[in-house]
């Protein structure tokens, strides 16, 4: 069944915006969605997959290379044709083995022909696309370590049977989870560019609308999809326009100064926060058709770019979202 239309998701604006912004500028570096059960976290990610504009890739390349010369030599690509394929959105299931993630020797060829051949894993398939981990907080530690390493270098290296295989693995990491089931290690937390918190809607009208649409999606699927296709297409066009406009968006010294002072006031670690904040604000400006990053863009981008980067303050029991909001009022009046 085709995924639920992105535009048909009721409410959850921050989550939707965060996802759209990573589609405009993948360098922002992924989204973490944490929140209540049954709020449509994974529905949104799957919807995003269908919304994203297609990419051009070399036919048959296991890691979606854009140019023939980028294809890894072990892949033995006979073709030089380019094909259009949907932006890859690869699911990383919880029970996944290391071999499936990184790729491993092709067992079938080893058995039948006694040959050494590499069978690409999920990281190769996710190259130039998205890697989605549902319930990311329950992922096995050794898989998390492996992902951190690859996300850092943008390259996957596998050494087996005297072979050394490498291929590019640049992907946007999307994670979702419910904090009740376990905390996320801070090292992984920091790797996500943006983070959003979702709660289930608090008013009856919205809730009824959610159920109505979900039900329509399940019971009269084709009709419902056709109804929403124009809205999704519109959003896709807007994302493409924003991507094209992104290099032209100016960020003034004032904007840079604003980003730095917000981060300083919040005491977020390292420079990663500032860079992400600026990138997110730029993507937001491009999305809104502005030519310059304004204070409003920074204000809107700050909560999602910074709330997961704050140090825990034992004497402040307010949530990190409240802390970001409070500092924003003070620093950017």
């Amino acid at each position: 069944m085709t995924p639920f239309p992105f535009a048909a998701i009721v409410g959850q604006d921050e989550m939707k915006t965060a996802m759209v912004l990573t589609a405009i500028d993948p360098k922002i570096g992924g989204v973490l969605v944490f929140g209540d059960r049954g709020t449509g976290k994974s529905t949104a990610v799957r919807a995003l997959a269908a919304l994203l504009p297609p990419i051009e890739a070399v036919k048959g390349c296991p890691c979606n290379s854009a140019r023939v010369e980028d294809c890894p030599d072990w892949a033995e690509i006979p073709d030089t044709d380019l094909v259009t394929r949907p932006t890859p959105v690869v699911d990383l299931p919880l029970g996944v083995t290391e071999d499936r993630v990184t790729g491993a020797l092709d067992i079938e060829r080893a058995l039948t022909r006694g040959e050494k051949a590499f069978e690409a894993g999920l990281l190769a398939r996710a190259n130039r696309g998205y890697l989605y981990i549902d319930e990311v907080n329950l992922l096995e530690d050794h898989i998390v370590d492996l992902l951190l390493d690859v996300a850092q270098t943008g390259e996957n290296v596998v050494e087996r049977e005297g072979m050394s295989i490498r291929h590019p693995a640049r992907f946007v990491l999307v994670g979702s989870g419910n904090p009740e089931e376990g905390e996320l290690r801070p090292q992984l937390l920091d790797r996500f560019g943006l983070s959003v918190e979702v709660t289930s809607p608090r008013d009856i009208e919205t809730r009824v609308e959610v159920i109505r649409r979900r039900d329509a999606y399940e019971t009269r699927h084709a009709e419902f999809m056709a109804e929403w296709a124009p809205k999704d297409a519109e959003l896709r066009a807007r994302i493409l326009a924003a991507r094209a406009a992104l290099p032209e968006v100016r960020s003034s010294n004032v904007a840079l100064h604003d980003c730095a002072s917000v981060c300083l006031a919040l005491g977020s670690d390292g420079l990663r926060g500032e860079l992400t904040l600026l990138r997110t604000a730029r993507a937001l400006a491009a999305y809104e058709g502005a030519t310059e990053v304004t204070r409003d863009h920074i204000r809107a981008a700050a909560p999602m770019a910074l709330r997961h980067r704050l140090r825990r303050d034992p004497l402040d029991e307010a949530g990190s979202s409240a802390r970001v909001a409070r500092q924003l009022v003070e620093v950017l009046p």
Binding site: G35, D36, R37, G38, T39, G40, S42, P93, L94, G95, T97, E98, L105, I107, E108, A110, L111, T112, G114, E115, K116, D134, E135, L138, D141, H142, E159, R160, E161, G162, N178, P179, E180, E181, G182, T199, S200, P201, R202, I204, R207, V208, V210, I211, R212, R214, D215, T219, R312, D313, P314, L315, D316, E317
Partner: protein
Amino acid sequence: MTPFDDTSGLPGRPPRPVADPWARVGLALTLFAIDPDGLRGLWLRARAGPVRDRVVAALAPLRWRKLHPFVSDEALYGGMDLGATLASGAMQRHAGLLEHPGLLALSMAERCPPGLAVRLGQALDHAPQLSLVALDEAAEEGEGLSQALADRLGLFVDLSGLAWGETTDISLPSGPIATAQARLRHIGLTEARMRLTRVAFELGIASLRAPMLALACARAHAAWRAAEVIDEGDMQIAVALTLAHRATHFPEEAPPPDTPPPDTPPEPQEQPDDTDNSALDLPDEMLIEAARAALPPGLLAQLQAARVARGTQGQSGAGAARKSMRRGRPMPARTGKPGAGARIDLIATLRQAAPWQKMRRAMLPGFSPDRLILMPSDIRIKRYQDQTDRVLIFVVDASGSSALARLAEAKGAVELMLAEAYSSRDHVALVTFRGQKADLSLPPTRSLVQTKRRLAGLPGGGATPLASALQVALAAAEQARGHGMTPTLALLTDGRGNIALDGSANRPQAALEAAQLARAIAARGVPSLVIDTSLRPKPALAELAAQMRATLIALPRADARTLSATLGAALGG
């Protein structure tokens, strides 16, 4: 203790309409047989026994495949069938349990670890033809099915109150069920969708899966009646079978005093807008009543206690899970280097090496053909999952304000808890406070006798150095962590701290310090529980509990046994 002899739970509740519980069980099974894909699953809470056997026998024609809480990922998701692969010379997989559509049954579901619960939950979300019966044998309050699963399973059936004599054999008539199945698609849902969504909201159910499941239930019941539209009765059944057990509050009455505070994710009960309450339409009250009638007394409190236990601890049982190289429950082997305490898993290593032999012989022609060629990458090491020991730190207020009678009750409760702690091999520590400051009266120990003796000899009277008590408790918790144990705090007080850390009788200063220390406890992530022992619950103590991110339990006139039951629930048994 059986789950339902606690009738103290919900005072002031109107008498419930009597319904035949066994008939309701039969109805739930029938509806499940009609629409397993819509209802997604059945949460069956019952101890193993003849009554449950009757239900299981009724479900037998649906043919399920069994799961146990420690099923491996390979069994769930499938994997290489080594024997067949080697024999045939080509890759052969064996299918995983989740790959086939149909019904799964999870036995001992109360022991299901969060990882498995989430895996099953994901499978239910993505495979529309898969459904699950969770056989939950929870015996104590605080045990129970993981929320990740409970949220996804439509129906809830509780057999705990039923005696064998009240039950009869249930048979699910296949003919009428098939007829009802054929009708499902033709039933209009518009009005029912609206109503059930509203009712779910009014019952304080945050998840949006709940109204979908209730709708499926109402539709199945309408189909069973051979009706074309869903009527009031269908909706009442749906509310009773799918929504009642999820309720976090009932609109017309104030939350009962022993309802744990909503420090778990924000749920609608925190924001009872006046407009919301007055907007409650009359017809919905009937449905709310249906939910109320479906809940045996005390069940709501019990389910909530389980929810809280999971919220604070993440999982039931003692201590936190910890991976270990040497002892504990075996986990799947993984790649690694031997040494540093790791042991090679010989079988897993051989399995890993086997498929590559032909290739390696071609690569390394010098080896004789009857030798196995192992490479470093084949090596698999053993891993185990172990539980760290838990230490329960009791912080007992022995001041004058915490009147002597209450102190005796607190002592009694602690003693009962001690017996439970002893049986689950927990360590216990005791911090007492009165007069100028708090003392660690008993460092972590497993000695029941010593703790009892120390407790019995505890004098009462004097001022309330609450800040000092929190300080000592926090230090004890940190120290326990340093020794690899998992600390849990239980604070029994009436909440009026009046002595500052420096021993002076400075009330504002004392309150400030107590709040700071409470936040420090929250920041260190020590799971904690605050028991208000005063005769009338104090807002100040609720605030303190919020700052500690602790579960607050107010116990007006509770006896030691109820206190212990509540403690047991909130601490996860």
